[in-house]
């Protein structure tokens, strides 16, 4: 999943970016409101974390303008401001959640995770597709009750596909959501991830969880709860 992180304090920004990256998120960073607005308008993020006290353009204005541009990804406000007036104002202009500094990194990850899951229509963190179950909180995958070892990028690819199950996801889209902005991307590596996932999830080929839609992309075919 690709996250936009907007925080003007360098050390904190680096810290949060590192914490999120270590849990498999691709993180694009901005240090002021104008840069945040530009990145938010240009890229399709899975979620954004925005500080309110930003230079050049404040966080509330950034959120307001992103929503006016119909950017619908979930937004979590991360700020030192604790007043209810600020909280309500932030939520009214379009934020979806609010976290006050200082915060537990685990709480931040859990909230971002919940926001992404809910924005894709999944109310629970444990997703079940027939014999395959995916715990999006602990990032554990099982098939027929047996744990399956996946690399971080394999898991991220699988998670994106299952959260957008029944949708056709192009290689480009997958690439954009798995890597941060400045990463040197190679779309062929997606094919490698897909191949590996098919082998690990469906060794005997009976399930066919990931279908290739020629010329368009990939689709996770299993029904949730089935």
């Amino acid at each position: 999943m690709r996250i936009l992180l907007v925080e003007d304090e360098y050390l904190l920004r680096e810290q949060v970016q590192q914490q999120l990256s270590s849990h498999g998120y691709a993180v694009d960073c901005a240090s002021d409101g104008e840069e945040a607005l530009f990145l938010g308008e240009e890229n399709d993020y899975d979620a954004a974390i925005i500080d309110l006290g930003l230079p050049k353009l404040d966080g509330v204005s950034v959120i307001e303008r992103l929503r006016q541009q119909h950017r619908q990804f979930p937004i979590l406000i991360l700020t030192a401001r604790v007043s209810w007036q600020d909280k309500v104002k932030g939520l009214e202009v379009g934020a979806d959640d609010y976290l006050v500094k200082p915060f537990h990194p685990e709480e931040l990850r859990a909230r971002i995770h919940a926001l992404i899951r809910r924005s894709n229509g999944h109310s629970q963190s444990l997703l079940t597709f027939g014999p395959i179950s995916i715990d999006t909180l602990s990032k554990q995958v099982e098939s027929k009750g047996q744990p399956i070892e996946l690399t971080q990028f394999e898991y991220n690819t699988l998670e994106y596909l299952v959260l957008h199950s029944q949708q056709v996801i192009s290689k480009t889209t997958l690439t954009e959501h798995l890597y941060q902005q400045d990463f040197d991307r190679d779309s062929n590596v997606i094919e490698v991830f897909i191949t590996r996932l098919r082998k690990k999830l469906d060794p005997d080929g009976s399930l066919k969880p990931i279908a290739t839609v020629r010329g368009l992309g990939y689709r996770f075919t299993l029904q949730e709860g089935a």
């Binding site: 209810w84 007036q85 909280k87």
Partner: protein, 462 residues
């Protein structure tokens, strides 16, 4: 504390009181002077008339063989009418030489009053015994002798008294009417003249009650500087408050961001090493304590009470904003929200204080409720009561007092800073309001806030 201002008379009362004392005195003096002038005028007129009558008598007098002869009919007809009120005599050396026919019924001794001794051309005019007395002393040349003559005229003062009485009656009637009219006119002029002050007082009260943000600019030039200065004071106070709030926000940001970084570093160390986790626990606790102290004290410093920035805030929109925001935050739980608020119910104070109180109370209800949150407002002329009720498991009564102490949380599994209700307590105290939590483990919790409203029904009139 007794209002000492009410024991001092108002400006209009002072002016009216002064005029009620001064005006009658002035009118009394005027009446007395006019009365005196009228009397003198009448007396002069009387004297002049008697003098003229005297000259008539003198011109009619003749001497025949040394004896005074007067015609039977004198030009002044009243001398011929018995008891006409006008009587004339001529005497010489205290001997009565002639008396008018009108005096025929009077005793002779009444016709020779005591007067000053004879002196040629002496005129005497007296008013006594209900009559005017005019005497004229002449010497009449008779051949070689000179005869001293005193002509005395008597005029009843009834006419004079009656005329004076009529005048006095008219005078005092008109003066009294003028006094009443002037008093009323003065009262009306005072009311009109002081109306800008009345309007100023009403506007200041409306300002205090939050009905207006500034005083108007169309006052007379004597008062406009007061209104202008009050508006300047309000603007300065608001700017100062804004600067203060911005400074507090910057301070919060400056303190909390480094705390967040330290927090993050400790978390990373804890995740990398089990031994670090134990060591860092004490640091974590102190960090949390620092954060709570910062949060609490910054919020306390930002609290305002009854200042010129207090406003009249309708409650329903504020409650709806907060419940909608919380519904978004607690979306997954599908909590039903019921708002029972009159459209007219309002709060008098600062909006950020109201939002802080309601935000914390309603957030607690959302956290601990099972399925439903009810917000109910009841208003009376001087108080407004806000109840927030949830249907959660309730709070043990033994811990209710503990809740309002900063830093104590009953349910440690719930996210939150733990100082929300202590902040509510602080704000309610600053507004001299009441805050109560009624709990029942079976039926959920009811948090009640009661605010006082300003009294607006005292009339302002000067």
């Amino acid at each position: 504390m007794k209002n000492t201002a009410s024991s001092l008379p108002s400006i209009s009362r002072r002016l009216l009181l002064a005029s009620v004392i001064v005006l009658p005195l002035f009118l009394l003096l005027t009446g007395w002077l006019l009365n005196g002038a009228m009397k003198r005028s009448l007396l002069l007129s009387q004297q002049a008339q008697l003098q003229a009558n005297t000259y008539q008598i003198l011109s009619a007098a003749e001497w025949d063989n040394g004896e005074l002869w007067m015609p039977e009919v004198l030009p002044e007809a009243r001398f011929q009418q018995i008891d006409s009120g006008l009587y004339g005599i001529i005497s010489s050396e205290n001997q009565l030489l002639w008396r008018s026919e009108s005096s025929s019924m009077l005793a002779t001794n009444t016709l020779l009053p005591e007067l000053a001794p004879f002196a040629i051309n002496q005129r005497q005019f007296l008013h006594r015994d209900n009559r005017f007395i005019f005497s004229f002393d002449v010497s009449w040349q008779l051949d070689e002798n000179v005869r001293p003559l005193r002509i005395i005229l008597f005029q009843s003062d009834h006419g004079f008294v009656a005329e004076l009485a009529v005048f006095q009656g008219e005078l005092w009637r008109w003066l009294t009417s003028m006094a009443l009219f002037l008093t009323l006119a003065q009262y009306a002029v005072l009311r009109w003249g002081l109306s800008p002050l009345t309007r100023l007082a009403r506007e200041v009260r409306a300002l205090q009650q939050g009905k207006i943000a500034n005083l108007s600019h169309n006052y007379p030039k004597e008062i406009q500087p007061v209104a202008t200065n009050v508006n300047t004071l309000i603007a300065n106070q608001q700017q100062q408050q804004q600067r203060f709030q911005h400074a507090l926000a910057d301070l919060a940001h400056s303190l909390k961001t480094p705390l967040a970084i330290i927090h993050g570093e400790l978390s990373q160390q804890a995740s990398s090493s089990a031994s670090s986790m134990d060591k860092n626990q004490a640091l974590e606790q102190q960090l949390q304590r620092m954060d709570q102290i910062i949060q609490h004290q910054l919020q306390r410093a930002n609290r305002g009470t009854h200042s010129l920035s207090a406003q009249r805030i309708v409650l329903k929109p504020v409650i709806e904003r907060i419940t909608q925001a919380l519904t978004k935050l607690y979306y997954q739980r599908g909590i039903e929200v019921v708002i029972d608020v009159d459209e007219q119910s309002f709060f008098h104070g600062r909006e950020d204080d109201l939002m802080e109180v309601l935000g914390n109370i309603i957030d607690n209800a959302f956290k601990y409720t099972r399925s439903k949150v009810l917000v109910r407002v009841k208003s009376s002329p001087y108080k407004v009561s806000i109840e927030v009720i949830d249907d959660g498991k309730g709070i043990d009564t033994a811990y209710i007092e503990h809740i309002v102490q900063r830093g104590v949380r009953i349910d440690t599994l719930q996210p939150g800073q733990g100082i929300g209700l202590a902040v509510v307590q602080d704000i309610m105290l600053s507004y001299q309001g009441e805050f109560a939590i009624k709990a029942n483990t079976d039926h959920g919790t009811c948090a009640q806030l009661i605010f006082n409203l300003p009294h607006s029904d005292e009339p302002i009139n000067y």
